[in-house]
């Protein structure tokens, strides 16, 4: 019982770390740093899932935690790193982003997410229902990152971070999704990264940069 009493504050702490990492991602310009942060986010997700599994006594959550560890902490960051090395984009950074304005918007989004999650989390019966607001905030912040960033690789990292947020929302609201769905999503994400990796090469071949601004203009001449 004593260990269970400690589980909730630690979970809250991990949730706060997740939010902190989301903001750190918003404030970083360098692509490589973003990948490291993404790996950290996965690590915290792994810890929190393990903790939820332990305190709720649900065995299958351990499997999804292991899946998180394999895919999001080790697999995807490695793939992204190698992709960046192959693309020669390791020194890429977003220069045109107004970080303070983005952070302020992020703050407003966090308030919005907390307000939105309050009625839902009151109905949830899990011990983790308090963290639903943070999960929503992480999703919205990843959205914001995808919207404000120009480079293809950063947008993909934003997409993956959003998936992390969704996963965290699932564990905090309903103790995770059914195993089949989770496996399906994991596979989707993996395949998605592979396909997007191919896209990177195509985009770079066409425009000689990974800046997605070029995609917005219609073809001339």
């Amino acid at each position: 019982m004593n260990a269970h009493a400690y589980a909730l504050p630690i979970l809250n702490l991990l949730a706060a770390c997740l939010l902190l990492i989301s903001f750190a991602m918003l404030s970083r310009r360098r692509t490589q740093r973003l990948i490291t942060l993404f790996a950290w986010q996965g690590g915290i997700l792994f810890l929190s899932t393990c903790l939820v599994a332990y305190s709720s006594g649900l065995k299958e959550l351990y499997y999804s935690a292991a899946l998180t560890l394999l895919l999001k902490v080790i697999g995807l960051p490695m793939i992204l790193h190698r992709l960046i090395l192959r693309l020669g984009a390791q020194w890429d950074s977003e220069t045109m982003v107004n970080i303070p304005a983005t952070m302020l918007t992020g703050l407003v989004l966090v308030i919005f997410a907390f307000g939105l999650a309050q009625p839902i989390s009151r109905m949830a019966t899990t011990i983790t229902h308090n963290t639903l607001g943070i999960a929503l905030a992480v999703i919205l912040l990843s959205f914001l990152m995808m919207i404000t960033r120009r480079k293809a690789v950063t947008q993909v990292i934003g997409f993956l971070a959003m998936e992390n947020g969704l996963f965290f929302a699932a564990t905090s609201a309903t103790y995770g999704m059914p195993m089949v769905i989770e496996l399906g999503i994991a596979l989707d994400v993996l395949v998605g990264v592979f396909i997007l990796g191919l896209f990177f090469f195509q985009i770079r071949e066409q425009f000689e940069s990974l800046d997605l601004r070029h995609l917005e203009s219609l073809k001339e001449d």
């Binding site: 504050p9 809250n12 702490l13 706060a16 902190l20 903001f23 302020l104 907390f114």
Partner: protein, 320 residues
């Protein structure tokens, strides 16, 4: 107020004054190790102070009394701050005299005097340094206040000693908002003490310096006092951090025996050793920001502190 408490208060201040240069020396040593240089000895700052005190002071011809007065004001405010901050014990007469907001005011006083003195001579560098210092200061102050508001909410008091007492009375798991506050506080500490992401303490390159630019006209004993004051400032900030986030070992209200004092001194030294190593690590890992990136950095510290407040209020965290 017994004679014993006065002696202990006096001892605490004296310890702060003596230890502060040592803390600087320790950070410099850690940095040198991390950067593969041969480290200066730990007592290097003392040697420098002694050398400076031995020299004759040179003053610019059109220096006003303010310029002469400033080193003493700086040193005085920092010593007073060291007396207010409960670095060793909470049950001391000065510690109860002022709360954390007054403490920020004290730091602001020191900053104003230093900037005025830098402008007093009328050299270009001094003025530039003063302007930059004021910019950093006015951005860092709200962030620091927000960090303190976090702690006020958590512990229900604006006085550092009662916060420490409260924390020691409920030594439960850390509140999530504390993480945000701690990160924000570290950022503010680096900015306020002219450490690396904002300013480089070891450089004399004209275009990048902030703090050093303001000291250019000072020499001998004035310079020694200013340097000593800035090492005291760093020590004070570290002690505020300890009181807010890791107040273990600080002697609380009831415990006044010599054993508790010895424990608190040992705890303070251990915390300083770790904090110095951590600061050196952060400084070695990060690059100095352009001056125009400084607002971005400090805005981030401010936002993190505000986020801490939000998380505390909206996560329905426990009340101390």
């Amino acid at each position: 107020m017994s004679a014993l408490t006065i002696i202990r208060q006096f001892g605490e201040v004296l310890l702060a004054i003596v230890i502060a240069p040592l803390f600087m020396g320790w950070i410099a040593q850690c940095r040198a190790w991390l950067q593969n240089r041969s480290a200066p000895p730990l007592r290097q700052p003392y040697r420098m102070l002694r050398k400076l005190f031995d020299k004759d002071a040179a003053l610019a011809t059109d220096a006003s009394p303010l310029f002469r007065l400033t080193p003493y004001v700086l040193f005085g405010t920092m010593v007073l701050a060291a007396a207010i901050i409960p670095s060793l014990a909470t049950d001391l007469p000065f510690a109860r005299a002022a709360d954390a907001i007054a403490l920020i005011g004290l730091f602001a006083t020191a900053r104003v005097f230093l900037s005025l003195a830098a402008m007093d001579i009328g050299t270009a560098f001094g003025t530039m340094g003063a302007r930059r210092e004021m910019m950093v200061g006015f951005l860092a102050e709200p962030a620091l206040l927000m960090v303190l508001f976090n702690a006020f909410l958590l512990f229900g008091s604006t006085a550092l000693p009662s916060m420490v007492d409260n924390y020691r009375a409920h030594p439960s798991i850390i509140d999530p908002s504390v993480i945000f506050a701690a990160v924000a506080f570290t950022m503010v500490l680096l900015a306020e003490n002219a450490r690396i992401p904002i300013d480089n303490p070891a450089t004399h390159l004209e275009l990048t310096m902030i703090h050093e630019a303001m000291l250019l006209e000072y020499s001998a004993r004035h310079l020694a006092l200013v340097e000593w004051a800035s090492s005291l400032k760093l020590f004070n900030y570290a002690c505020i951090g300890f009181a807010l986030f890791i107040p273990w070992g600080i002697a609380t209200q009831g415990a006044n025996g010599p054993a508790a004092m010895l424990i608190s001194i040992a705890a303070l030294l251990v915390k300083l050793i770790f904090a110095g190593a951590a600061l050196a690590l952060i400084e070695s890992l990060s690059a100095k920001l352009r001056i125009f990136r400084a607002p971005e950095y400090l805005a981030m510290a401010f936002l993190l502190a505000v986020l801490g407040l939000l998380v505390h209020l909206l996560l329905g965290a426990r009340t101390a």
